[in-house]
């Protein structure tokens, strides 16, 4: 059950763009140390769901509770918006996102990227942020690239750097949106290895992915989305090996 210690609770989320409804009541509960993978066909709403969690998209209806703190919304005529952007900023700084396209800030060195949010959003002293940032770059195997700019790094290095940037805010939950989809096949392994380590050390993560091996080996829960609904969910061993839903069976079929 969810309580005030639960890192992330999402209840009955709805979201439409114009007249197209993309999410039709999806829920999720991420407890400490959970790794939840979201799978589903293209267009099923995985990214939208993830982006609603840190309010890059504002859900039309539904609840969002981060470590016991309810996100407050105010209802306008047609749309809903957060009641307090201050609250949104605070919550975002506790849910770090890793993007498909890395989105490292191009005008900053790698270490600059890593210390940016700690220093300017969280107010950590620069020296302290730098020390910790260097340790994180060490962890993802990029200590010798600290002063490189994103354009000077391979996709895999950029994504590992982006993971270090996410770790630097010591997030409650890490959100990954297809972190390996934009990578050359030979670079995927390094990034997945880092993510496995994070899972092993008990990081709470929500991961949109097409990497079924990762979903099977690492996640504590798999959610299969179809047309903005949770079509099937459960432990990976069940959901991925003995799917009930014919749709999920079909989705997984080419991979069997």
């Amino acid at each position: 059950m969810a309580d005030s210690e639960t890192p992330l609770v999402v209840r009955d989320l709805h979201k439409s763009f114009k007249d197209v409804s993309v999410l039709n009541g999806v829920s999720l509960e991420a407890h400490e140390g959970d790794v939840i993978t979201l799978i589903g066909a293209s267009g099923s709403g995985k990214s939208t769901f993830l982006r609603c969690m840190n309010l890059l998209e504002v859900p039309d209806a539904g609840e969002l509770i981060v470590h016991g703190e309810h996100v407050a919304f105010k209802q306008n005529k047609k749309t809903r918006e957060p009641a307090s952007w201050k609250q949104v900023e605070r919550i975002r700084s506790r849910l770090a996102m890793v993007f498909q396209g890395f989105n490292l800030w191009a005008h900053m060195s790698l270490i600059g990227n890593v210390i940016e949010a700690p220093v300017h959003v969280l107010g950590v002293p620069k020296k302290q942020a730098r020390e910790r940032g260097m340790a994180l770059l060490e962890r993802v195997g990029l200590a010798d690239r600290a002063d490189y700019f994103p354009a000077q790094l391979s996709g895999g290095q950029q994504q590992r750097g982006a993971i270090a940037r996410a770790l630097a805010v010591d997030p409650e939950v890490m959100l990954f949106d297809e972190p390996t989809s934009a990578l050359d096949p030979e670079l995927v392994g390094d990034v997945l290895a880092v993510m496995r380590e994070l899972a092993d050390e008990g990081r709470t993560m929500v991961v949109v992915t097409h990497e079924m091996d990762f979903a099977r080996d690492v996640s504590s829960q798999v959610i299969y989305l179809h047309e903005g609904r949770v079509e099937e969910t459960g432990a990976p061993a069940e959901v991925l090996s003995r799917p009930d839903s014919p749709r999920l069976r079909q989705f997984l079929a080419p991979r069997f």
């Binding site: 952007w85 900023e89 919550i91 996102m97 191009a106 949010a117 300017h120 959003v121």
Partner: protein, 234 residues
């Protein structure tokens, strides 16, 4: 021999005024340009319409006409306002439009319109993922602007800003018609008195070139600054 028939000191003062006026107007134009560019890309229909109306007017009317309109029109507007106040309060106020301030406002308003187009294009040239990441890490609007959007945008805006600046600098010569003693005004007076146009107009031309040369150096430095992360080879 080169004491410019006694006009030397006044010419120097004029050159200084030109530089001051150009820099102050540049600052005004940059601020107006940023605000208007933001208005144009905002979701508010009113802000968008006002901004578009403003740039359309400015770009369609000659600078000289605009300047006289703002200078004399501004004086008349202020007179009417003070008259109304005086009638109301029984006072006797009169505000004289300061020619320097009028020059800065006019040039700022005119070149703000051009700058806004430059900035708008530059904003659009920045990859949306960069601002998305800024928001995702909890940056407020202002922080994200200052740390992410502005430095990334400047790389694209710099050539346009430089062009506008060079035109603005030359437009400062127009302020002599509203009574400011910039270097063109002084040289014109001196020429009329001495009938030696080359003695005065050539140094004035060189004066503009000198300002331009210095500004090219500054632009070069800025270019290096805002190219950080992009020019480095992989």
């Amino acid at each position: 021999m080169l004491d410019f028939q006694g006009y030397g000191p006044r010419l120097l003062e004029g050159a200084w005024l030109t530089a001051e006026l150009a820099l102050a107007s540049l600052a005004a134009a940059l601020v107006i340009g940023l605000v208007v560019a933001s208005a144009k890309s905002s979701r508010s229909l009113v802000a968008k319409s006002v901004a578009t109306f403003y740039t359309t007017i400015i770009r369609g009317v000659p600078d000289l006409v605009m300047m006289m309109l703002l200078f004399y029109g501004g004086q008349i507007g202020i007179n009417m306002a003070t008259d109304a106040l005086n009638a109301h309060l029984g006072t006797d106020w009169f505000i004289n439009v300061n020619a320097f301030a009028a020059g800065v406002v006019t040039l700022g308003v005119i070149y703000g319109a051009y700058m806004s187009e430059t900035f708008r294009g530059a904003f659009l040239a920045v990859d949306a993922g960069q601002m998305e990441a800024a928001r995702a890490y909890g940056m407020s609007g202002w922080l994200a602007f200052r740390r992410i959007r502005f430095p990334l945008m400047m790389r694209h805006a710099l050539p346009g800003i430089n062009n506008n600046w060079l035109v603005l600098l030359k437009s400062t010569a127009l302020v002599s018609i509203i009574g400011l003693s910039d270097m063109v005004y002084v040289a014109d007076q001196a020429t009329k008195a001495t009938h030696q146009p080359f003695l005065f107009m050539v140094p004035v031309g060189l004066g503009y070139l000198a300002i331009t040369a210095v500004s090219e150096l500054v632009v070069l430095g800025l270019k290096r600054r805002f190219d950080t992360g992009f020019s480095q080879a992989t």
